[in-house]
């Protein structure tokens, strides 16, 4: 199994542990990732309103890089997933837009055709790789641990862009994965709620209130970890956990782990190898 | 308490247009709009198809004169011709005004307001916003009322209209949130509370609240009602819910098909086919069903409205809401399957007797919109003329109330009338009351549908009147179980039931009296129009004893002579 791997800005800078914990086990599963070094930032759910056409061109280019390799594309960040799939949807349904960007991409020897799929790491594990196969690889079943799944918005919504993987009001793929790794899932209210990341800078108070809600929910549900497929959610829930809890006048600690880390745990890697000690809340 | 210059009851199209126009006439006036629902909830929102105006954007040879003639002919010559003339003359003006104020009318290629064909019209005259014209006009009016700072009393229920026989005094309302009964004094009152076709209950396309509240309050306040027996049955209600599939579906080219696969309208309106006027199409469906050419189902016999030949793209673009209704309420996607339909009570032509300024017999009391009978629709309303009526006569009433208000100096609302209402309401919760409001409501709807529906006879109507009188008796024992003062919907539904019962009596008595067939009123025992005896309006009063008395008044004629009505 070979994919073009889309490099997310946050995994390249603030959250490097997400990236190296992924690279640590992909070979164990026989998954080969070809990093798209020439890819750019997806626009972070911002470029689309700064300049909608530039947004299309940038992400059309990102996908065209994967197409040039003849590979489907994987990302391990929800917001990158949304940006790429959003652009792809427009390019695939509005020929005049596709034509517009291809006129420029041609100069670089690229062409956007729409043949490469854009997938989230979670979907690849569940769908392409298969949970039965994954379960068979588990060497350290997470039997004693309780996980609160936190999907993050941009892997669920808007649902028409998300390929039918989950019902955004009642998702289950992340739970399925946790169970395949031997872990236990806690029921709590926040699994499909918003972490507030995208307003961390412009409306910090509101933002940390949202992440605080989720953390408190998970604490009350007696989870050992929150696990999230999105490094941006991770940032809100982990690095701003203290701020979030203080909006609710609560204390406590809820370690947050990345999707690649929970897989790594079940495959027998240590917390240190997976960079879990790099988190703010440990 | 200082009286308001104008209190408008009802925040639908007519009420909000009246408010806007009144403030335009005199910005210094103190105006209140009172409504039992938030303004954008009003039933105007349900009008799908459009609003008629001879703009001549599509057919360059359309004229106001043709619109007037179509309206009068459509009314089966019962419309007052001065009113119909004013309606059509002002149509281009009000439609353009709504456009100027932001209504998102669909457009033709040249950027002008789009127009489509509609039942009973000779030309493409119906201006539309996709298939949500009422919704967008209502939103636009609400936006403009916000812009002008109109004061809304949302979720206040009208209990009575007060006057001293010489001038209006105001209204008595219940604040629905607190249960408090309040007298609201006013120099002028505009009733704009909508129609009464919900009395047919399950066989009605109307909102739950289209219970004729203002009309019933007017009847009890001694005002005259007019032409109450004329209730329009829309040909294409959904089989199960009675909800409406707009005439827009036929305007765009939909077929009506029976169980033999025939476009049966060829028998009844060979030229206009599916675009014959509503009363004719409804009756044609009823005949087809009676003669065994309907489809069978648990929810009764029905016909097919077939849109499939129009193609998915057109259906999605021009009839999106209709498609959604069919999917949500029948589980049928009209792109793939015909829509199951049957006639449904849809519009009430009758209402409060008012002149072309909206004025009633009591100075200061006005009526506009479906609750009024001006009368522009006569025995049958044309599609696209109801939204037009709310705009034109909302404007008329608003303007004239604004002009009149300063000259009126009403006396105070008597405490006795407030106390009387208070006492009646307290009575509802008495423990020896045993009748359930929902049973009465269903029984009322059933007898109306069976005995005062599309086809009427003396025998059926006598039965209908007797049933209604029995229901009226049973209502004296109706029980409100919910004892709370806070938003007591149980109580409001009982208020509405009382209004429907009172108006049902006028419908049935009017229909029994009128021994002819005209427009929406079809008597099997008197199958033809009888201009000699019945070319006149029915008038209804309630006497001191609470009985309904029927009389009549002449029709205002003009340049259009009586003619046979064929399509």
């Amino acid at each position: 199994m070979k994919y073009a791997y889309y490099l997310s800005c946050i995994n390249e800078s603030l959250s490097k542990e997400a990236e190296y914990s992924l690279n640590i086990w992909t070979k164990d599963l026989g998954i080969e990732l070809v990093p798209l070094e020439e890819g750019t930032c997806c626009g972070g759910s911002n470029l689309d309103f700064v300049n909608p056409d530039q947004f299309l061109a940038i992400n059309g280019r990102n996908i065209a890089l994967a197409e040039k390799l003849g590979l489907d594309m994987i990302t391990s960040c929800n917001t990158c997933l949304l940006g790429l799939r959003h652009a792809k949807h427009i390019l695939d349904t509005q020929p005049e837009k596709k034509e517009m960007i291809n006129a420029v991409l041609k100069e670089e020897g690229l062409e956007y055709t729409g043949k490469s799929e854009v997938k989230h790491l979670l979907w690849v594990l569940v769908d392409d790789y298969g949970l039965d196969k994954l379960a068979a690889k588990v060497t350290n079943p997470l039997t004693d641990l309780k996980f609160a799944p936190f999907y993050g918005c941009h892997i669920l919504r808007p649902s028409p862009l998300m390929g039918g993987y989950d019902n955004p009001n009642n998702p289950h793929t992340l739970e399925d994965l946790i169970r395949a790794l031997g872990g236990n899932v806690v029921e709590y209210n926040s699994k499909n709620k918003c972490c507030g990341f995208h307003t961390l800078i412009v409306a910090e108070q509101e933002s940390v209130k949202l992440s605080g809600d989720a953390v408190v929910d998970a604490i009350d549900a007696k989870a050992d970890y929150i696990v999230t497929p999105c490094p941006l959610c991770h940032m809100s829930l982990d690095a701003y956990q203290k701020d979030g809890l203080s909006t609710k006048n609560r204390q406590g600690k809820m370690p947050i782990i990345h999707l690649p880390q929970i897989v790594g745990m079940a495959l027998g890697y240590t917390e240190k190898q997976l960079g879990i000690d790099k988190h703010v809340v440990v | 308490m200082k009286p308001y210059d104008i209190i408008i009851v009802g925040a639908g199209g007519a009420g909000m247009y009246a408010a806007m126009e009144a403030l335009q006439t005199n910005p210094g006036l103190n105006i209140a709009v009172v409504s039992k629902v938030y303004p954008t909830r009003s039933h105007t929102s349900a009008a799908q198809g459009g609003v008629n105006a001879a703009l001549a954007n599509r057919h360059k040879d359309d004229t106001v004169e043709l619109h007037i003639f179509d309206t009068i002919k459509g009314s089966d010559y019962l419309a007052d011709q001065d009113a119909a003339t004013l309606l059509c003359e002002m149509a281009p003006y009000v439609v353009r005004e709504m456009e100027n104020l932001g209504a998102p009318f669909s457009r033709l290629e040249d950027g002008t307001i789009a127009q489509r064909p509609f039942g009973g019209a000779q030309k493409y005259r119906c201006c539309y916003c996709a298939d949500r014209t009422g919704h967008t006009l209502l939103q636009t009016l609400f936006e403009q009322c916000m812009r002008k700072g109109v004061k809304f009393f949302s979720e206040y229920y009208l209990l009575s209209i007060e006057h001293d026989g010489k001038t209006a005094q105001g209204i008595v309302v219940m604040n629905m949130q607190t249960g408090k009964i309040e007298a609201m004094p006013a120099k002028t009152v505009i009733i704009a509370t909508g129609g009464y076709a919900k009395m047919y209950w399950q066989k009605s396309s109307n909102a739950a609240g289209s219970t004729g509240d203002g009309i019933a309050a007017a009847l009890r306040a001694g005002l005259a009602l007019e032409d109450m027996e004329f209730v329009q049955f829309h040909p294409t209600g959904l089989r199960k819910s009675g909800l409406l599939i707009s005439e827009g579906a036929r305007g765009e080219g939909g077929y009506l098909v029976n169980n033999k696969g025939e476009r049966f309208m060829s028998r009844y309106a060979p030229e206009k086919m599916e675009l014959g006027p509503r009363d004719l199409v409804s009756r044609s469906i009823e005949i087809e069903i009676n003669e065994g050419r309907g489809f069978d189902s648990d929810a009764g016999q029905y016909m097919h409205l077939d849109l499939r030949h129009l193609g998915g793209a057109l259906i999605k673009e021009r009839l999106p809401q209709i498609r959604q209704l069919a999917i949500d309420f029948e589980g049928v996607d009209p792109i793939d399957e015909p829509i199951p339909i049957r006639p449904t009570a849809h519009y009430s032509m009758g209402g409060i007797d008012a002149d072309i300024n909206g004025a009633t017999a009591i100075p200061g009391i006005y009526a506009a919109g479906e609750c009024s009978c001006i009368s522009v629709h006569g025995a049958n309303r044309l599609g696209g003329n109801s939204l037009l009526e709310v705009l034109v006569f909302g404007k008329q009433a608003g303007h004239h109330a604004a002009v009149t208000a300063s000259s009126l100096n009403p006396g105070a609302i008597s405490t006795a009338s407030v106390e009387k209402i208070q006492k009646e309401i307290e009575g509802y919760s008495h423990h020896d009351r045993t009748e359930r409001y929902s049973d009465l409501r269903e029984d009322l709807g059933k007898t109306l549908g069976a005995n005062a529906g599309i086809y009427r006879t003396r025998k059926k109507l006598e039965k209908g009147v007797a049933d209604i009188m029995e229901i009226k008796e049973r209502f004296k024992k109706v029980h409100v179980k919910d004892a709370s003062a806070v938003f007591n919907t149980n109580l409001f539904q009982v208020f509405e039931l009382k209004n429907m019962i009172h108006l049902a009596e006028t419908v049935a008595r009017g229909a029994l009296a009128r021994e002819e067939s005209r427009g929406s009123h079809s008597r099997e025992d008197f199958p033809t129009r009888d201009d000699k005896k019945w070319h006149k309006h029915s008038i209804f009063h309630m006497n001191e004893a609470g009985e309904v008395i029927v009389s009549d008044k002449p029709v205002t004629m003009g340049k259009h002579e009586l003619q046979e009505r064929t399509y």
């Binding site: 930032c41 689309d48 061109a57 990341f197 | 629902v37 932001g102 916000m146 819910s241």
Partner: protein, 320 residues
């Protein structure tokens, strides 16, 4: 006969006149296929408990009165099929009915709707025409089908407030503009007949306005009319860029993304707060910076430029 099924309705109850706090009532009724949630609760009200309180009006999905939460999700009771909801039940055949979120409760499912009206007023949610009052109604504006298409979806909004109830930001701060007011604002800003867009944009640019949306897309998911509300929110933000209203944090924050992509291809996380809020504004981010540094995770001030950046710059040059 139509197939029937016993279904439980677990319904939120609260009457501030008598109840200390909210509770749930359970009702079991037999429901056939094809019945909507509204018809089911009407049955309960009419036959079992007449004090059950909720709003409804048109029963046809056009007035917006009966929005409530069904199995936790805000939707219209009148267009939601009971049998379809069975697959969303937490407990088998038990449908939960609750009032909308983010509102004060008046009674049971009836919420205080006034904040919606207040927000519409605050954001100038109407057209103020260029045509003088005296000239209204004389002639129609010529509007192209293309312009009309831009606002077409937005004019579908029935103000049911399902989006208001589902909005993440709304739950964090009731001062927030709300999705429906943003949608109306977009519809007005893009209407060439209106003359007050400058003022409207000024209010939208204020605190709790258009820049506070957190992109969660819950509004889009909840919209009973399938309106792409997020496109409208992005649309008013885009309008700020078109008008170069570059004084807000929201503008600067988003602009930083465009600048960085053009410059290196990648986001320069280290300085984004400073570029958004200025040196002093960003001082509040200090605890975050310290926490990250303690874990050895402070991003580098130097961002490696991607190979082929000239092609990216070419895109920014050619596509405006």
């Amino acid at each position: 006969m139509d197939e029937k099924k016993d279904i439980y309705f677990k319904i939120y109850r609260y009457n501030p006149e008598v109840d200390q706090k909210p509770f749930y009532d359970d009702f079991k009724i037999s429901v056939e296929r094809g019945v909507t949630i509204l018809r089911a609760i009407n049955y309960i009200k009419d036959h079992v408990d007449s004090s059950l309180s909720y709003r409804f009006y048109c029963q046809a999905g056009i007035c917006g009165s009966c929005a409530m939460r069904v199995n936790g999700v805000s939707k219209l009771a009148c267009t939601t099929q009971v049998w379809d909801e069975l697959e969303n039940c937490k407990e088998k055949d038990m449908i939960t009915i609750e009032p909308l979120n983010n509102f004060e409760i008046i009674r049971d499912m009836i919420v205080d709707y006034k904040p919606v009206i207040n927000k519409l007023e605050k954001y100038i949610s109407w057209v103020t025409p260029k045509i003088k009052q005296a000239d209204l109604g004389k002639k129609e504006n010529i509007i192209s089908e293309a312009e009309f298409k831009v606002i077409d979806a937005a004019t579908d909004c029935i103000l049911c407030a399902a989006c208001f109830s589902e909005c993440s930001m709304m739950s964090a701060n009731k001062e927030y503009i709300s999705p429906l007011a943003l949608l109306k604002a977009f519809r007005m800003v893009k209407d060439s007949r209106d003359t007050r867009s400058d003022e409207r944009m000024a209010v939208l640019n204020q605190d709790h306005g258009m820049w506070d949306c957190t992109h969660c897309y819950r509004c889009v998911e909840a919209c009973v009319k399938n309106i792409p509300i997020m496109d409208a929110i992005q649309g008013v933000r885009n309008e700020a860029f078109i008008r170069k209203q570059n004084g807000t944090e929201g503008y600067k924050h988003a602009n930083a993304f465009a600048q960085d992509i053009r410059k290196t291809g990648r986001l320069k996380e280290a300085t984004i707060a400073i570029r958004t809020k200025g040196i002093f504004g960003a001082a509040g981010m200090l605890p975050f910076a310290i926490r990250m540094t303690l874990r050895g995770r402070m991003p580098s001030m130097f961002v490696k430029t991607i190979p082929g950046i000239k092609h990216v710059r070419n895109i920014f040059r050619k596509i405006k």
